[in-house]
Amino acid sequence: MFPKAKYSIASRIFLGLAILNLFTFVICIAAIYSFRDSGHKIDLVTSTLLPQIIVAADLGNQSSNLSSRSAELIAADSLLELDTVILRLGDQIDAVSRIEKKLALSKVSNDVLLELKDIRSSLDNNLAVLMTLVKKNILLRNDITKHIELIKVINNYSDSHIRDALLTFTSKSSNEGSALNSELNSLFSDWSKLSNQALLNIATTSETRHPIQLIRQESKFQQHNIERLKRQSQLLHHIPNLKDNFLYLDRLFTQIESIYKLRKDLFKNVSATQGVLTIHTHLSDVLIDFTSKLSTEFESKALAISGDIHDQFSRRTLIFLLGLALFFAVAGAVFYYVDHYVVSRIQRLTRRIQNQGTAISSDAQPISGDEISEIDASLTYFISEIEAREALLENERGKAINATQSKSRLLAAASHDLRQPLHAIVLMLSGLKDHVEGKTGNKILGDINQSVTDLSNMFDSILDLSHAENSNKELENSHFKIQTILERIEQEFRPLAIKKRIRLIIPQSDITIFAHRESIHRILANLVSNGIKYTQIGGVTLLIKKRAKDISISVFDTGTGIPKDERNQVFKENYQASKHQEGHGLGLAIAQELALKMGTEITLSETPTKSALFQISIPKGEVQLIKNAPQPTSGVQITSLKGLAVVLVEDEQHIRLACRNLLENWGCHVTMFSNYHDALLYIEQENHTFVLITDLHLGRSQNGIKLAEVLSAKKGSEDSHIIITSASQFTKESIHENFKFLRKPFSPSQLATTLRGFVRKSA
C-alpha cells in the first residue's frame, strides 16, 4: 500500500504566499490610515489656517497703512491735504470691516472678532470726529479768508472816500484858518496810522503760533481801536459828512473782531484735531498689535501643525522602513519555509534516490531544469537500477529455492528411508522385552525404548515440516464437516489427557469448512498436543465459532501461558516454552507453516487467566459440495493401505506409538487405545469398518481375544478384520481361524502384508 500525503506542496506554497499577502495588506491598511491623519492636518492648514494667515496678512497691511496715514495726518500742511488723507483713511477702515467679514468666515473665535470689531468701530468713530473737525477747520479758514477779502474791499473803498472828503474839506477850509487845518491834518494822520496798525494787526493774526499771542494782539488792536474811535469822533465833529464813510470803517473793524474770534476757534479746533489724531495714532497701535498677535497665533499654529506633520512623516518613514525590513524578514521566512518544506525535501529525496542508485554509477550528469526535473531523472535512473537488481535477485532466489528444495527432498527421502529400519527396531525391541531378564537389563531396555520413540517422533516431525515446506503446489481444498476432524482429535488425545489427568474439551459441531483436510487435522492436533504438553492442572479446550465470513477455531489451555516477548518466537522451529518438557519444538512451526500455506494464520494471544490462546480463521464451506472421503484403493504398493481405518489396542506405550507411526506412514487412520475398557466401549459404539490390531495381554488378565470376539460377534466373522499380536508363547492354534496372529517382534512388512490381505478381501 502506498502512503498518501496529508499536505500538498501547493498548499504549503499557498500558505507562505497567503502569510506574505496578509502582511502586505496590513502594511497597506496602516499606510492608508496613517496618511489619512496627516491628510487631515494638511487639510486643516490649507483650508483653515492658510486663509486665516492670508486674511491676517491683509489686515496687517491695512493696519500699517492706517498707522502710516496717521503720520501723514500729522504732517499734512493744508487742510485740503488733510481732507484727502482722511478720505483715504475712511477707505482703509472700510477695508478693515471687509477683512472682519472674511475673518468671520475663516472660523476665527468670537473673542477675536469682537476685539477687532471694537478696534475698528473706535477707529471709525474717531475718524468721524476727525472728519467733522477737519471740515470745521476748512470752514473756519474759508470764513477767515472771506473776512479778509471783505476787509480789503471795505478798506480800499472807505480809505479813498475819506481821503477825498478830507482833501475837499481842507481845500475849502484852507482860507478860513490854518490852525484848524493843521489840527485836522495831525488828527487825520493819527487816525490813519491807527487804522493801518489795526489792519496790520489783523494781517499778522495768521502768523500767530499760540492763542496767547492772538489774545495779546487782540487787546492791542482793541486799544488802537479805542484811540482811533476818539480821533474819528473829533474828525466827525469837524467834518460831519464823513459819517457814512466812518460807518463803513466801523463795519470793517467789526469784521476784524470776528476774525479774531474765528482765529481763536481755529486754534481750538486745530488743538482738538491734534487730540483726535493722537487717539488715532494710539488706535493704530492697538490695531497693529492685534493684527500682529493674530498673525503670530496663526503662524505658530501653522508651524505647530507643520511641525507635527513633519514629525509624523519622519516617524512614519521610520515605521515604514521597519515594516519593509519586517516584510523582507517575513518574505525570508516564507522562502525558508518553502525551501525547508518543499525544495530541500525534494533535494534530499533526490539525494536519497541518487545514493540508492550510485552503487553502479556515481557520476552526476548535469541536466537542464530544476529539482523536479532532477528528481524525475533520478527516479527514472533509480527505477531502471531497481529493475536490473530485481532481475538479478530473482535469478539468485530461483537458485536458492532450488537448492533448499533439493535439500528438503533429500532430508525427506532420508527420513522416510530411515523410518523403516527404525520401526523395525521398535517392533523388535518389543519382542526383545520378553527375552531380557534382570533388573539392569530391563532398565537398559526401557531407556533404549524411550530413545527410539523420541527418535521416531523426531523423524515424523522433520518429515512433516519438510512435507509442508516442499509442497509448492496449491493445497487442494475441499468442503467437509469439521466434525470428522474433531473426532480424530478426540480419539488421538483423549487417552493422553486421561493419562495426564487433565480435562480435554472437544465440542460437537455441524459446521462445514472449506480447507485442506489433512492440514487442518495436523494444525489442530499440533495445537491440542501442545496444549496438553504444557498443561499440568486444568485442561485444554477447543472452541469453534461461526462468524459472519469465516469460522474461527480457538485452542486454549490453563497452562502458564507464553510471555509477551516470547510470542514472536513461538512459531520458530526450535522454540520450547520450557526446557524440561518433552518435544522437539516443531509442532507449532509446522502448524503455522500449514496455516500460511492455506492463506490464513495462527494468531497467539492470551486468555483472561494469562494462558495461551491460539486462534485460526478458516473459510466457510458448503454442505452441498461435500464429497465422500476417497476410498482406499487396492494395490500392492504401500499406498494401497491409504485410508485404511485401524484401531490399535496396546498397553505398551513404545510399541503403540511405533506401530501408529508405521501405520500412519502408510496412510492409515489410526485410533489407539491403551486399555481394554476404552477399546471395548469404542468397538461397541463404532459402526464403520476397521481393522482391529490388539495385543493379546492387556494387563489384569484382560484379553485381546475378548475384544476380537466382541467385534466378530457384532460384524460377523467374515467382515471383521482382526490382528492379534503377542510376544508370548501363545500358539496360533488357540486363536479363532478368522483372526490373524503376529508374533512380536514382527517386522513392518509382516504387518503390511497382513493388512493388505484385509484390503483385498474387502475390495
Partner: protein, 344 residues
C-alpha cells in the same frame, strides 16, 4: 506827503507784514546768541507763553486728550513753570520731541525747558552745556515682553530681540548689561518712541525697554494688557528723570529748580490746590528778587497744578488709569526720596 506815505504803506502792507513776520521769527535766534542772565525769563514774558519740550504721545507724561488739551506728569511740571513765570498755566506751547532731537532743540533755544522723561547722568550734565534742575521722578529701567515669551529674566532669554530708542539711557544701559553679562540678545534700535512701540506691537521685537513707568503707562491703554504682556522683574539701571535747561542762564535754572521744590514742599506742608487759600502762608517764602518772579509765584504754581502728590496721583497714580504705586517717589518722611530744600 503823509497821505502818499500812508497809501504806499497800505499798498504794500501785505509785503511789509511778511517782512515783519520774518524779522519776528528770526528774532529768537538772534537773541539766543549772547549769554545774558535772565534772558530766558525775559523772552518767555515777551513771548507771552512758555515753550516746553515734551514727549511724543507719551502716555502718562505728555499726551493730548480728545480736545487736544495736553495732559501728563511732565506736562504738569511745564504748566507749573508757566504758572510761576506768567501766572497762566495755559500759556505754554508744547513741542513734542524724540529722544534724539530733544537736546538739540534745547541747545538751539527752540524750547525754554525740556521736561521729557530725561535721565540725569554725569555725561549729559557735564558735556552738553545743559543743567538738570532736579528730579521729578525716581524711575528705573524696565523690560516689557510679549506674554508668549517664556522666562523671567534676560539671563534666560537666549536669542531674544529687544527694541530700544536711540539716544536713551535705556539703550546704553541695555548694551552695557548685555556685554557685562555676555548675553545673546539682539537689540533693535529705533529713532522714535512711536516707532519703537510699533515695532514691538508688530512683533519685530520680543521685548521693549524704557523707563518702567513709561512702559506701564503705555500698557494701561490696552484692554486685557495682562494677558498680552508682562514687565520683567529685573533690575537693570536707575533712571532719575527731571527737567533740563541750558546752562547759560542761572536765573532760569533757579526758577525751574525752585518750582519743583515748591511742589514737593507743598506736599510736605500738606498744601493742595483745593485748600490753597487757607494754607498759603505756610510757604512763608522770603522775597527773592533775583528770581525775577512775582512774590506769589508758589501760590500760582500750586493753584494751577497742585502739590507733588496731586500731580503724581492724577497722572500716574491712583487717580489715573496707570496706577503705579509711589514707591521711592514718596516724601522722605514716608521713606521716599523726595526732599524739598528749605524755603528760607
Amino acid at each position: 506827503m503823509h497821505f502818499l506815505h500812508v497809501s504806499l504803506l497800505s499798498k504794500w502792507s501785505v509785503k511789509l507784514i511778511n517782512v515783519l513776520v520774518l524779522l519776528l521769527l528770526s528774532s529768537s535766534h538772534v537773541w539766543a546768541e549772547p549769554t545774558i542772565q535772565g534772558k530766558t525769563l525775559k523772552s518767555v514774558r515777551d513771548r507771552g507763553y512758555l515753550i516746553c519740550g515734551v514727549g511724543t504721545n507719551d502716555i502718562g507724561f505728555a499726551t493730548q486728550d480728545k480736545q487736544g488739551l495736553w495732559v501728563g506728569f511732565d506736562v504738569d511740571f511745564c504748566r507749573a513753570i508757566a504758572a510761576a513765570v506768567l501766572n497762566n498755566d495755559q500759556a505754554i506751547k508744547f513741542i513734542p520731541l524724540d529722544s534724539q532731537n530733544r537736546f538739540r532743540a534745547l541747545q538751539q533755544g527752540n524750547i525754554d525747558v525740556l521736561i521729557r522723561t530725561t535721565t540725569w547722568t554725569l555725561s549729559r550734565d557735564t558735556n552738553m552745556q545743559l543743567d538738570f534742575a532736579g528730579v521729578t521722578l525716581f524711575d528705573e529701567q524696565g523690560i516689557l515682553v510679549h506674554n508668549h515669551i517664556s522666562g523671567d529674566s534676560l539671563q534666560n532669554m537666549d536669542g531674544l530681540s529687544v527694541c530700544a530708542n536711540i539716544g536713551t539711557t535705556s539703550l546704553d544701559n541695555l548694551m552695557a548689561h548685555i556685554s557685562s553679562n555676555k548675553l545673546n540678545i539682539n537689540v533693535l534700535k529705533l529713532a522714535t518712541q512711536e516707532g519703537r512701540w510699533r515695532a514691538f506691537f508688530n512683533r519685530e521685537c520680543d521685548a521693549i525697554t524704557a523707563d518702567k513707568s513709561d512702559l506701564l503707562a503705555k500698557l494701561s491703554t490696552f484692554t486685557k494688557a495682562k494677558n498680552k504682556y508682562r514687565v520683567l522683574d529685573e533690575y537693570i539701571a536707575k533712571e532719575p528723570l527731571g527737567p533740563v535747561v541750558r546752562d547759560d542762564d542761572r536765573q532760569w535754572f533757579d526758577i525751574v529748580k525752585w518750582v519743583i521744590y515748591a511742589i514737593i514742599l507743598a506736599e510736605e506742608k500738606n498744601i493742595t490746590s483745593i485748600d490753597l487759600a487757607n494754607k498759603i502762608k505756610k510757604f512763608d517764602a522770603p522775597a527773592s528778587p533775583n528770581l525775577g518772579l512775582d512774590l506769589q509765584w508758589p501760590e500760582y504754581v500750586i493753584k494751577s497744578v497742585g502739590n507733588y502728590a496731586q500731580i503724581y496721583e492724577r497722572n500716574l497714580g491712583a487717580h489715573s488709569s496707570i496706577k503705579i504705586k509711589r514707591g521711592i517717589n514718596s516724601l522722605w518722611t514716608d521713606g521716599g526720596l523726595l526732599y524739598a530744600m528749605p524755603f528760607k
